[in-house]
């Protein structure tokens, strides 16, 4: 089968493999598969790979790639491009469902979800309807970026689609669950941010001394579970 991937260089030590230009689970599935293949069969000089919505950015050490590459070698990028084109063809017994589903408890609304009123106004839904819709879907972690541990989740019900804040907040609390366009996500650390905040999780999404440091990884499935203030408090305590 003809491989639809486009492979292009970013700089001397990285290249990107792009599977189409539409955000969907199928394209992301290809990203996950290649990411896994590279972890299973890393080439000499492979350092790391960054999964995104439809692409995988591969980081490598050009000196090692060059010195350990067998023949034919016709440049670092060219050799890796050929290698990856072949690698993509390898069938992999990998199914979407293999990835874990992680449940994230969320306290919705009140002071933990300061933009809930805005959402109600924009969507003409009540808070309980918003909570129900948001917590009924199953989401895919398409990408981690922006700040350490920030997960971009796809799969939100389009009824909840709202624009970002016109002026970003200077400080968003850690654990805040937000919506921007058709995406939803969780702020792992206190940071500035423009997403509409509808709730907060007591889970620690990023901890430098934990392994892995992030609670979520690209490819994971995510569900939200509404909790009350009491449970939020007890989970916060057991997490600290």
């Amino acid at each position: 089968m003809e491989s639809p991937a486009r492979i292009y260089p970013i700089n001397e030590y990285s290249l990107t493999v792009e599977f189409g230009n539409v955000i969907n689970e199928e394209n992301h599935f290809e990203v996950e598969k290649l990411d896994l293949l590279l972890k299973q069969k890393p080439f000499n000089g492979f350092i790391h790979a960054i999964p995104a919505y439809t692409s995988l950015c591969i980081v490598f050490d050009p000196v090692q790639v060059k010195s350990k590459w067998g023949s034919p070698f016709n440049g670092v990028f060219e050799s890796l491009k050929n290698y990856i084109q072949e690698l993509i063809k390898i069938p992999l017994n990998y199914q979407k469902e293999f990835r874990q589903t992680k449940t994230i408890p969320v306290f919705y609304g009140d002071e933990m979800g300061p933009d809930m009123d805005f959402l109600c106004h924009k969507t003409a839904l009540s808070p309980s309807e918003i909570i129900q819709i948001h917590s009924q879907a199953r989401y895919k972690v398409f990408m981690m970026g922006f700040i350490p541990g920030f997960a971009y989740l796809g799969g939100m019900d389009l009824r909840l689609e709202v624009p970002r804040k016109e002026v970003p907040r200077k400080k968003v609390k850690p654990g805040s669950v937000g919506i921007a366009g058709v995406q939803t996500g969780i702020y792992p650390l206190e940071s500035p941010g423009g997403w509409q905040i509808i709730g907060r999780t007591p889970l620690k999404m990023f901890e430098a001394f934990r392994s892995p440091a992030t609670y979520l990884q690209a490819g994971d499935w995510v569900e939200f579970r509404p909790i009350d203030a009491l449970e939020f408090q007890s989970l916060s305590q057991s997490n600290s």
Binding site: Y8, P9, I10, N11, E12, Y13, S14, T16, E18, N21, I23, I47, H48, A49, I50, P51, A52, Y53, T54, S55, L56, C57, V59, P62, V63, K66, G75, V76, F77, M143, M144, G145, F146, I147, P148, G149, F150, Y152, L189, S191, F206, A208, F209, P212, A213, T214, Q217, A218
Partner: protein, 328 residues
């Protein structure tokens, strides 16, 4: 060997060559901005190039040793004076206990790297000592150094290296007879070499022509995350949105308003702005030393040439390291 910081200057952080294995979790590489100067300082002491250094921003900083120190430094941000003597860059020197080491303005750049024999010792976080301030990771508890901070070297390092430096500084001598020459051509600092980026064809022909002919000024909004480039804005012919994808230092992104940003060491790991160009690896140290208001011109080179220069430079660094180790 331990120092106490008396004045940190504008910003002093612990950095090494960065945190490369957590990009997929949104953790930037970080690490030294000017890799060439940091490596040169480490090589002058026979340290591994990965040893942690102190990155000072401009001058007006000062520390003293709580015991005798063996140091080396490099970088265009400042000049070091010890007892009113200007210390040469890229050479090991000894400073006796309690003698102030003054990191002074002016120089032509921004950042200066001070290495200590054995490397500065702080805890590794996610595999690196590099400080990433926005998330409080690495270095001195995730923060910049402040007045009164104490930091020492790794106590367990190459014994032959330790013996060697103690021997050459016996009998009052305080400067090594050899040093590490610079391999970056700082004279051509206003000309930055780039390779065209994946979305360069998204821009008008005139904009691309301007990019390579009109100069750009380094904006005030420049830090370890990125540098703003002020000049003629880039006009797009393609108005589609780029789907967010992995980004790395050296990328010149064009923002929605047509202004450009050059991503640096602490730059975000993913981004959705079209990529006009990529600064070549061997010119990134020059970018790290550009000051606000400095004027730069971009010159196109081929990707093959960039790759050749990369490998040539890294091989050069390995050769220097090997030749320094022969001294021990």
């Amino acid at each position: 060997m331990k120092i106490i910081l008396l004045k940190p200057g504008i910003q002093c952080t612990v950095q090494d060559l960065g945190r490369w294995n957590h990009l997929s979790f949104g953790v930037p590489i970080s690490g030294v901005m000017d890799r060439a100067s940091a490596i040169r300082a480490n090589l002058a002491l026979g340290n591994s190039i990965r040893s942690a250094v102190l990155e000072f921003t401009y001058g007006n900083a000062e520390f003293i040793g709580l015991d005798d120190l063996i140091l080396a430094y490099s970088g265009k941000g400042s000049a070091i004076h010890v007892q009113n003597i200007l210390m040469p860059q890229g050479k090991a020197f000894k400073v006796n206990k309690d003698i102030p080491v003054k990191i002074m303005n002016p120089n032509q750049g921004i950042r200066t790297y001070i290495a200590v024999v054995g490397g500065w010792a702080t805890e590794e976080v996610l595999g690196s000592q590099s400080t990433y301030l926005p998330a409080g990771l690495g270095g001195m508890g995730g923060r910049a150094l402040k007045k009164g901070d104490e930091i020492g070297n790794r106590e367990t390092y190459n014994p032959a290296q330790s013996d060697y430096f103690h021997k050459i500084f016996e009998g009052g001598r305080n400067l090594a007879s050899w040093g590490i020459p610079e391999w970056i051509d700082w004279k051509s600092r206003s000309e930055i070499r780039v390779v065209l980026g994946p979305e360069s064809h998204w821009f008008e022909k005139d904009s691309i022509a301007n990019f390579f002919s009109v100069g750009y000024r380094i904006g005030n909004e420049s830090d370890r995350m990125g540098m703003s480039l002020e000049g003629i804005k880039m006009n797009r012919i393609q108005t589609q949105e780029l789907i967010s994808t992995g980004t790395l230092p050296g990328t010149i992104q064009v923002k929605g308003d047509g202004n450009m940003v050059l991503l640096m060491a602490d730059g975000q790991t993913t981004g959705g702005y079209p990529r006009m160009a990529q600064v070549i690896w061997v010119d990134m140290p020059i970018c790290a030393q550009l000051r606000p208001m400095d004027q730069v011109y971009f010159k196109e080179v081929s990707r093959k040439e960039a790759e050749r220069l990369y490998i040539e430079q890294e091989n050069h660094i390995s050769k220097i390291y090997e030749s320094v180790l022969l001294k021990f």
